[in-house]
């Protein structure tokens, strides 16, 4: 197991390979569907002003060689803040239209989710020294244990699942399934399973 501390430098992520198990510590930011759409429209295609500009600066601070986590958590409000109760990954492929540009814009070191992503993200990983990290889908209580602190929440108006949650994690478990060398474990499994499928159904390949 490889211990990674966020921010993660480029040489470290470029050395990672598909199949490696990692354990992450440091601050990461959750972002899923609405957050990705917002980042593209406001920060990347638009010119942020006012509160948007302020949030942009905050996110830049966390995300340069930082990590985006595809997650819509269950969060409990406590006396003096918040606590993550359940926080597994959501399906990443929905962010495929956006992720490559988000990786490039912020200079991400990692994207965590489940199910893998497509060619655009894989190319951006290669170009910017980023990796895609797979967390176990549904293992929400288990993963929430590694979330030690909620540092901030932004755009809460998007709803609990869709807001940007800035969290401090310790020992967050994941597997590298897309590396910065252009390899994707997901592509390999899709190809192998398709071959079996065609053979089982007697379809020409």
């Amino acid at each position: 197991m490889r211990e990674l501390t966020i921010p993660v430098d480029e040489a470290t992520t470029r050395a990672l390979e598909v199949g490696e198990v990692v354990s992450l510590s440091g601050a990461m930011v959750t972002a899923r569907d609405a957050a990705h759409k917002y980042m593209i429209e406001t920060f990347i295609e638009g010119t942020p002003a006012g509160e948007d500009a302020a949030l942009h600066e905050i996110l830049k601070g966390h995300l340069e060689r930082g990590v985006v986590y595809h997650c819509g958590p269950v969060v409990a409000r406590e006396k003096d803040g918040w606590r993550f109760v359940a926080a597994g990954p959501t399906t990443s492929i929905r962010e495929e239209p956006y992720e490559g540009r988000v990786i490039a814009h912020f200079g991400l070191a990692g994207v965590i989710g489940k199910g893998g992503m497509g060619a655009g993200t894989l190319a951006a990983c290669r170009e910017h020294g980023c990796v895609y990290l797979h967390a176990v889908g549904g293992a929400a209580t288990f993963i929430a244990d590694s979330v030690k602190e909620v540092l901030a929440v932004h755009r809460e108006d998007l709803g609990t699942p869709e807001a940007f949650w800035v969290i401090r994690v310790e020992g967050f478990p994941a597997v590298v399934t897309m590396d910065a060398k252009g390899n994707s474990l997901h592509d390999g499994i899709r190809d192998a399973s398709t071959a079996v499928f065609r053979q089982v159904l007697g379809l020409s390949s």
Binding site: H134, G138, G159
Partner: protein, 289 residues
């Protein structure tokens, strides 16, 4: 119905936090089939550890607590409206207590109601049952698994799928292939054969209430289920789609009469966190199973 609200809150809590024994047993059996120290064994160990932790702490197994699907058998003459109100209150209370994540989003405004109620939510399927008895089954069905559900119309020449059970087999294997790990494999396949489009999908979803070890009383459907299970697992997609020997934990198929011109086949995919629980309220008291 105030009492019913309390029972339904407990039903929701149990469904969200305590995975049924048959599903957990199937996950353990899947883990035992993998080589020790392998990636799929590690994934399944994490899943099983998470199941234990969620049960002990009474916290959600998965943060996507899904949409609430209530299958209600009610006494003759009982009010649906009152039950719907009780269930809505229970859903709101369960959200407040963090057994549920707020999951009701308006498609136009994007606004989340914050309490898991809204237009068309929760989802209800009512059916008349015995006098004096309520039997309420609840599925918590996550978005990822719902997104890999599918509906096919036979024949499908690209898959050489005709209007028969072999055609059903072919399109279902295609759906499993397309789903890869995205529905949080290893999952349960609910298969609806026949009906109209909406009925076919409802039938598929209803199959997910069946316990994994049960056997379809129709021998042809039993054979379809067993064959699909074996062939789906041969594809090697594995837990979370990261490779392995178990992609599907069970297959459950049901039929409905169809229009002569239509032959629909629907897949309702249940993720490994197959959260289903049942509440019975009758003269003998209240039972949660």
């Amino acid at each position: 119905m105030d009492e019913m609200t309390g029972h339904l809150l407990e039903l929701i809590r149990l469904a969200s936090t305590d995975l049924p024994a048959d599903i957990e047993d199937a996950l353990k059996a899947a883990r035992d089939k993998e080589d020790p120290g392998s990636r799929p064994a590690a994934v399944l160990d994490t899943i099983l550890e998470n199941v234990r932790m969620a049960r002990t702490r009474s916290t959600p197994i998965c943060q996507d607590t899904g949409l609430l699907n209530f299958f209600v058998k009610h006494p003759p003459g009982a009010s649906h409206g009152e039950f719907v109100e009780a269930a809505g209150k229970a859903a709101a209370q369960a959200t407040e207590k963090n057994y549920l994540r707020p999951n009701a989003v308006h498609p136009v405004t994007g606004k989340n109601t914050g309490d898991n109620t809204g237009e068309g939510l929760p989802i209800f399927y009512f059916e008349e049952g015995d006098p004096g008895a309520w039997e309420v089954s609840l599925l918590l069905k996550g978005g990822g698994s719902e997104n890999v559900g599918a509906q096919f119309k036979l024949p499908d020449p690209s898959l050489q799928a005709g209007r028969d059970l072999d055609g059903v087999r072919r399109v279902m294997l295609q759906a499993v292939l397309q789903a890869q790990g995205l529905g949080c494999a290893p999952g349960v396949l609910g298969v609806g054969i026949g009906g109209d489009r909406a009925g076919s999908m409802a039938l598929a979803k209803k199959q997910l209430l069946r316990p994994l070890p049960d056997r379809n009383p129709d021998p042809e459907l039993a054979s379809l289920e067993a064959g699909l299970l074996e062939e789906a697992n041969r594809m090697g997609i594995g837990p979370m789609g990261l490779g392995g020997r178990t992609t599907v934990l069970g297959v459950k198929a049901g039929v409905g009469h169809r229009h002569p011109a239509s032959y629909f086949v629907s897949l309702a995919y249940f993720c490994w966190a197959a959260r289903r629980r049942r509440l019975v309220v009758n003269e003998e008291g209240v039972t949660l199973a």
